[in-house]
Symmetry: D2
Subunit: 340 residues, 4 copies
Amino acid sequence: MTVRIGVIGTGMIGQDHIRRLTHVITGTRVTAVFDIDTARAEEVADTVGARALATGREVIDAPDVDAVVVTSWGPTHAEHVLGAIAAGKPVFCEKPLATEAEDCLEIIEAETAHGSRLVQVGFMRRYDAGYREMKKVIESGAIGVPLMVHCAHRNATVPASYTSAMAAQDTAVHEIDVLRWLLDDEIRSVQVVTPRRTGKRHAHLQDPQIMLFETAEGVRIDLEVFVNCQYGYDIQCETVGEDGLVRLPDPAAVSVRTAGRASTGILQDWQGRFENAFDTEFREWAESVANGAEPTGPSAWDGYAATVITGALVQALESGGIVRVDALEKRPAFYGGDTR
Amino acid sequence: MTVRIGVIGTGMIGQDHIRRLTHVITGTRVTAVFDIDTARAEEVADTVGARALATGREVIDAPDVDAVVVTSWGPTHAEHVLGAIAAGKPVFCEKPLATEAEDCLEIIEAETAHGSRLVQVGFMRRYDAGYREMKKVIESGAIGVPLMVHCAHRNATVPASYTSAMAAQDTAVHEIDVLRWLLDDEIRSVQVVTPRRTGKRHAHLQDPQIMLFETAEGVRIDLEVFVNCQYGYDIQCETVGEDGLVRLPDPAAVSVRTAGRASTGILQDWQGRFENAFDTEFREWAESVANGAEPTGPSAWDGYAATVITGALVQALESGGIVRVDALEKRPAFYGGDTR
Amino acid sequence: MTVRIGVIGTGMIGQDHIRRLTHVITGTRVTAVFDIDTARAEEVADTVGARALATGREVIDAPDVDAVVVTSWGPTHAEHVLGAIAAGKPVFCEKPLATEAEDCLEIIEAETAHGSRLVQVGFMRRYDAGYREMKKVIESGAIGVPLMVHCAHRNATVPASYTSAMAAQDTAVHEIDVLRWLLDDEIRSVQVVTPRRTGKRHAHLQDPQIMLFETAEGVRIDLEVFVNCQYGYDIQCETVGEDGLVRLPDPAAVSVRTAGRASTGILQDWQGRFENAFDTEFREWAESVANGAEPTGPSAWDGYAATVITGALVQALESGGIVRVDALEKRPAFYGGDTR
Amino acid sequence: MTVRIGVIGTGMIGQDHIRRLTHVITGTRVTAVFDIDTARAEEVADTVGARALATGREVIDAPDVDAVVVTSWGPTHAEHVLGAIAAGKPVFCEKPLATEAEDCLEIIEAETAHGSRLVQVGFMRRYDAGYREMKKVIESGAIGVPLMVHCAHRNATVPASYTSAMAAQDTAVHEIDVLRWLLDDEIRSVQVVTPRRTGKRHAHLQDPQIMLFETAEGVRIDLEVFVNCQYGYDIQCETVGEDGLVRLPDPAAVSVRTAGRASTGILQDWQGRFENAFDTEFREWAESVANGAEPTGPSAWDGYAATVITGALVQALESGGIVRVDALEKRPAFYGGDTR
C-alpha cells in the first residue's frame, strides 16, 4: 500500500524531500503540495504528478493525503502541524517544530489531547550510521557512564544572511537534538564562549562560538560552532565515559599519497554528509505511517526542547553568562517513553 | 512507469534481490518468478504479490515482464540469458555470466546479432563508493600512469563446501572485474602462489592463495585471497602509479578507546560491506531499463573475461606456472565502448 | 669539554635525570648531588661516581659543578634557583619554578639583576616532536590565525594522594606552558567547569575537570583533564585557525586486526610518551651550557606564568567563576625575546 | 669505561656514524680512522680528535682501538672484517658483510675458528621501534602462525648511478634481513616480477620491481621495490597470520585539515625514518662491546644470507624465473642461537 503524502513548502528542502519520497523511498507518493509561491508549487507538483492546492489546510484535508510533510518557512510550521493534528494525520515537520516555545507547547497539548503521537520533527542525525553506532556503544556500557562530550560543527562558509543567533538556531540545533538522544539526558544550562572572530567572515557575525552545556546528569558538553572554517564541512563528536571514549568516524574516503603528503578528501557540504541519514529518516517514518504506528523519531517534545535550548543559547550569547534551562525539567508522561 | 521484473532463481541471493527490487528500489516491481524448487518459488512470489511460473522460459516470455533477473544456479545462467536475448528483453545476470567460456561466447554472439546491449552481469563492486572514488582519482591523473595494484580479499571463514577453485571462481572474480574496470586494461597472464596453508581450514583447501596478474599495459597485480582469516571480512585495494598511490578506505566506523587500545570494528560479512553497492547497481540498471537505454554496467564481454580469467587461475593453481590469457586479446568492436 | 653537573634532589625524577645525564646525553657528567635523605643521596651518587654533599648550597658552590639541576621538593626550588643565580651558574629547575608567585618574582628580579638568563624551567613538551611540528605548521601560516585550541590530558589512574588542585598544578601546568609557547600568546582568564565525577576515583577528587582559557589575542582554549580515565595515558591537542586546523599525532604503534577489531595500543604512562622530549630537552640545555650561551627553553618568566595561571585555576575551581590573570600583562623587556 | 673505536671508511655514512659515536652515544669515542682519501680522513679525524692512520690494518691493530666500525666501499669490507677477527676485536660492518658469498663464508669460518661472535652487520631495521613491536606481536601469538608478508619499499627518487641490481643489493636487502628476523625463518626461493616501468626513471632501470620470496616454513612474501615513486620515502610491512594481521605504523606526524583535505606529511628520506633505529643499533652494540659480551645484532651468518639472497634476486631478475636458495639450508650450530 502506497503512503500518499502532502507537502507544504516547496522550496529547496521541500523539493529535495519530494524527490526523496518519489524516487528514493519505496511505498510513498506525493499527491498534493502547497507553497505561497503558487507558480513554484505548480511547477514542482507537475514533476511528480501531484496537485498544487491553494492552502496548507487544503493539503492537510485532502482525502488522498495520508500524511503531511511540513517544509515551509519556520514561523509557519506550528500552524500546519496543528492543522495536521486536528485532522488526525501523521505529520513530519522539518526543524524547527516552531520558532516560539509557546507554539511548541500548543502542539504538545494538541497532540497529548489527541492521545497518540502524530508528530515527528526532522532531526536527521539520529539516523546517521555513525551516531547510531556511537549510541550502541554507549548503551552497551563499553565506555561506562558518560561524563563529557566534545563536539565540533564546521561549515566551509555561510552566506551574509547568516546571523550570530543562527549558530544556535540553525546549526547547533542538530547537535542539541542528537546529544539529548545519544545521552538519553536533558540539558539544564548553557553558556556561550566567544573566541577571537575569524577575519574570513561577514562583519556582523560572531564566528566561531563555543557552546557549553550541562545536562541533568552532570554531563558537560562543549561544542565548537565554526561556520566559516574554510576547509570543509566537518562534524566531530567524542563521548568520554568512565571507562573509555567513542568517537564519530570521518566519512570513508580513499586516501592518496602524492607529493610528500598522505591525504583524504573532506566533504564540502552537509548534503553529502547526511544524505543516507535523510533517506533512512524518511524510510523509517514512512514505514511507521504505512503501519499505522506512532513515529519513533524525534517527538514534539524534542522539538520543544530544541527551541527552548536554542533560545537559551541566543540569550547566553548576548549576556555572556550561564543561562539555566528550567522549562525542560518536567517532561510529560506522554513523551516519557521516547527518550527517557 | 514501473519496470516489471521476472526473477529466475529464488534462492538466498534471488530473495535478496527481490526484496531490493520491491522495497529499496523505486520504480520496479517483481511480477513473476521461477525456481526449480516450486514450493520455494511460490512462497517467495506470495510475499511480493508475484506469480510463480513453471519454467524460466515462461518468466522471460510473460507479457508483464519487462526485464529479467537471473539468479539461478550458475550452470543454468547461459540458457536463461540466451532466452532473454531471444525475447529481446534486458537481462541482469548474477555472476558468473556462464560457467563455461563457450557459453559466454554464444551469449556474446547472440547479443551482437541482436544489435544492442541487453545483458548486464552482476559485479557490484563497480558501484561501491570507494572503488568509484578510486577510479576518479586514477582517471584524474593524480597518481600518474598505474603500475601496480595490491589487493586483499579476506573472509572470516567459509563452509566446508568451499573448494580451492572457488577462491578464483567465487572470490577473486570480483577483484578481476573491478580491476579490469578500474584500470581500463585487460589481464594477459595469471599465476597462483600458494603460501603455507592456515591450520584453521578444511583439509582439502589451499587457503590462502596469492594471485598474480599481468595486464596488457604491463600493470602487475597481486591479490591475496584468504577466506578463513578469522578476524573478519576485509577488502583492501591500493593502486600505485608513477606519481603516487590511492587506497580504498575501510568502512567508516566509530573508534573506541578502552583498556589500553584504540580500536574500530571490522565487518564480518560482505552483505554489510557492499549493501549500498548492490542498491546502486540495481537502481542504475533499473533506470536504464526504464529509459529503454543500453545498460552501462558490466557487459557480456566482461562476464566472458571473468570466466576466462578465473579458468586460467584454476589452471595456474594446478600447474604452479604462469598461464597466459590469449582469448581476450581481440575485444569485439561491439563491446569496445564499454571499458576500453 | 664535559659539562659537570650538580643535582639537588635525588628522588625518582632526580634519579631519572641523573641516568639521562650520565648514559643518554653525551658531554655531561654528574659530579655532585644533594638530597635531604642523605643515604639515598649517597647511594645515587655512588652509581655514577659523584659525591654526595651536605647541602644544596655546597652542590651549587662546588668548583667541579658547572651547572645545577634542581629536582627537589617543589617548595625548596626557589631557594636553590636563587642560590645558583647568586653563584652565576646555569640552573635547570624542574617545574614548578616555585610554588609561590612571589618566589618566582624574586627569581626574576635576581636573574634580571644578573643581566643574562641562567634559569631554564623543566617543561618538556616544547621538546616533543609532535608539538614542535605543530608549532611549525602554525608559524607557517598554513592554518591561518589561531582561534581555538581543544586539548585533553588523560591519565589511566592517579594515587589517592592526588588532589583536585593538582589537576591544575601538576597536570594542566604542562598544557599551560606548551600552549603559551605554541600560540606565542598569554593567558588572560581561566574558568573551570566540573563534569559529573567519575565513580572510579578517590572520593575527595573532582575528576574530570574542563579548564577554559582566554588569551590576550582572544584565542579560546578548552582542556579536559581526566586523570582516572582508565584506558591509558592520552594527550590530545588540536589548534583551529582561520583557514584550517592541525592536530597532534598519537604515538606511532603497530596496528593489529584480530577478532573483529582493528586496533592500536595506547601508552599507559607519560614516561613512554615524553621520553624523547626529555632527552632533547636536556641535550639542548647541556649544549647551551657547554657553549656558554643563554638557555633557549622555558624561562623564569614562563615558570612564573605557570605558577600564576595554575593558581588562578585553583581559585576558579573553588569559586566556579571566571578568574582574570592580570599579573602577566606586563612582561619585562628582559624576557621579551623568549616567547613574544 | 669509554669504548675506543676505529672507523675504516670516512665517507658520508662513516661520517654519520662518527658523529653518532661522538655526540649521540654515551660511552664511545672515535680514536682512529682510515680512508683511501687521506685528506678526507684527516679532516674527519680532526673534528673529533682522532688520528688518521695509513691503512685499515693500522686502525684495527691500534692499541687505543677496542672495536672497529667498517664503513668503507663494499668490496673492501671482507678484508677489514677478517682483519678485525684476526686481531680478536669486535667489528661492526655496514651492509653488505661482503659483496661475494665466498668472502662471507671465509668470515664465517674465521669467526667460528675464533670461537665467539665478533661480527655485527649493520642492518638497522631490527632496531626500529615499529619492527620491534611487530616482532613482539608475532611472538605473542596474537596473530597466529605467520602465512604471508606484504611489503613495500619506496624512495622518492634515486640517482642515475642506481642500477636494477641495486634494487636487490642496496634496497631490498634491508627487508630481507628484517623479514628473516621477524619471522625467525629462512628464505628458500625468490622470484622477481617486473611491472611496467615508471616513465620517471633513468632509461636503464627496471623500476618498480616486485620481489617474491618463499620461506622454509612456507611463508610467502611480496615486496614492492619502487625507488622513483616521487611522493616520498615510504616503508610498509604487513604480516598476515592464521588469526589476524599486524601492520607497521607510518611515522607519527601532525595531521592538518586545510582546503578540503585532511593530510599528514610523508618523509622524504631514510635518515629521518631510521634515525632512532641507527642510534639504538649503535647504543646496543657499544654496550655489548663495553660489557665484553657477544653482539646480539645481525650476525655474519645473517650477512652471508643477505648476500646469497640478493644474489639470487639479481639472477631471478635476469632469468625471469624462480631461483632456489639452497646455500642457507644448513645453518651452522655456531650461528644457531641467533635467529633460529
